[in-house]
């Protein structure tokens, strides 16, 4: 039976990321780049600040991507992309998409002012934050994207992180930019669709991609997709879009959300959490989910 069946691919076949790159086994970030480039296509220039991807891409003069890459300083992903865009406009190239590709450290903490500046000027760039919830490249230090209760090398088990994750989508929505979306590597069709859509829009576009990190989360490499999927199904990382800072759309309506404990127990970084702490996290997830539903008018 299966022999006659035709293969139908739901995402573009074109491969702009070649194998041989330096990512860890089961890396969510490398999969995120692969899917993003499937959506954006060949006519893209990517600006990469210091982050995992600065390493994954490979040492000079080699590169694992088939598109031009500009490695820039940690805090300047958005401003470099603005500059590249201005340069392209000068030579009359309006077709090429400029993508800024930063990790959560380069977006939530260090690159926030450059990002805010670019969003305020409404520069014609796509800014993508692939979020692995800590500074993984330098050795799992806490960032403001690290969730409550997580272990990192700078928030050891005894003093695990007590602060909430920064609401970056809220910050970007307040800038009123044309397009904001969240995407997850566990939903490739949705992710490719969002990048394709972002490509057609003019102005600053912000895409928040959830990219599990087996090395930093102390999870099994084969669980990367399972974790990304559970994050969506528990309501921890809902998939939605915001247009012009006002029109919210929920892309995946999760009818029965799974308990957050299912997501937490697969990761070594949450192993120390006790029942009451998990209940506290559950409450927070519930509150955030209710808020998003309200914003989406559901």
């Amino acid at each position: 039976m299966s022999k006659e069946r035709k293969m139908t691919l739901t995402i573009p076949r074109e491969e702009l990321m070649s194998p041989g790159h330096l990512a860890c086994q089961g890396c969510g970030a490398s999969l995120a780049m692969r899917l993003a480039l499937k959506g954006l296509g060949q006519r893209t220039i990517v600006c990469i600040p210091a982050c995992c991807w600065a390493v994954i891409d490979g040492p000079f003069p080699h590169s694992s991507l088939d598109i031009p890459i500009y490695h820039c300083a940690f805090e300047t992903a958005a401003s470099s992309a603005s500059g590249v865009r201005a340069g392209l406009d000068m030579v009359g190239d309006t077709e090429t998409t400029v993508l800024a590709w930063a990790g959560d450290g380069g977006t939530f903490d260090i690159g926030l002012q450059a990002l805010s500046g670019a969003a305020e000027r409404n520069d014609d760039i796509i800014y993508t934050c692939y979020d692995n919830e800590a500074y993984m490249n330098t050795g799992i230090q806490r960032s403001s994207a690290t969730p409550v209760g997580a272990w990192t090398t700078t928030t050891p088990v005894k003093h695990y992180k007590k602060e909430r994750k920064k609401d970056i989508i809220g910050i970007m929505a307040a800038h009123g930019i044309p397009y904001i979306a969240t995407a997850s590597v566990a939903y490739p069709e949705d992710m490719v669709k969002k990048f394709k859509r972002a490509r057609e829009i003019k102005g600053t576009r912000f895409i928040h991609v959830f990219a599990p990190c087996p090395a930093g989360w102390k999870s099994r490499p084969e669980d990367t997709i399972k974790l990304a999927r559970l994050a969506v199904q528990t309501g921890y990382f809902p998939l939605y879009e915001i247009e012009d800072g006002e029109k919210w759309t929920l892309n995946l309506k999760v009818k029965e959300r799974k308990p957050i404990a299912e997501y937490l127990k697969l990761q070594g970084r949450f192993r120390h959490l006790k029942e009451d702490e998990i209940a506290m996290i559950q409450q927070e997830v519930d509150a955030r989910w209710a808020k998003i539903l309200k914003n989406c008018g559901l």
Binding site: M7, T10, E15, P19, G20, Q25, P61, D66, E222, T224
Partner: protein, 99 residues
């Protein structure tokens, strides 16, 4: 597309050979990451339903589609096991590497 690229490492003999600006001259294909793995995925094509899920989720782009069938590129597969975990037919087995 990746087949056209050369898997050769570029080495500069002197600084005179270096390009004027830091630019990429070759691909990372010289880096044979297959040596990283301890376990390797093996697809049982008799049970494969050609859903393409393994190809879709491979973080290393190491699963090629050859004549509509998934084929693992063992030169670069790092052996993370994502394909075996996500396969709806469970027809990918992770077997120990013999060395």
């Amino acid at each position: 597309m990746s087949k056209k690229k050369e898997a050769k490492k570029i080495v500069f003999e002197s600084e005179k050979e270096m390009p004027a600006v830091p630019m990429s001259l070759g691909s990372m294909l010289y880096n044979k990451t297959g040596a990283w793995r301890n376990i390797k995925p093996v697809i049982d094509l008799d049970r494969c339903i050609k859903c393409g899920i393994c190809w879709k989720f491979c973080p290393d782009a190491s699963i090629d589609i050859v004549d509509e069938w998934p084929q693992i590129n063992y030169v670069y597969c790092k052996g993370c096991g994502l394909c075996a975990e996500e396969c709806p037919q469970k027809c990918i087995a992770m077997v120990e590497e013999e060395k």
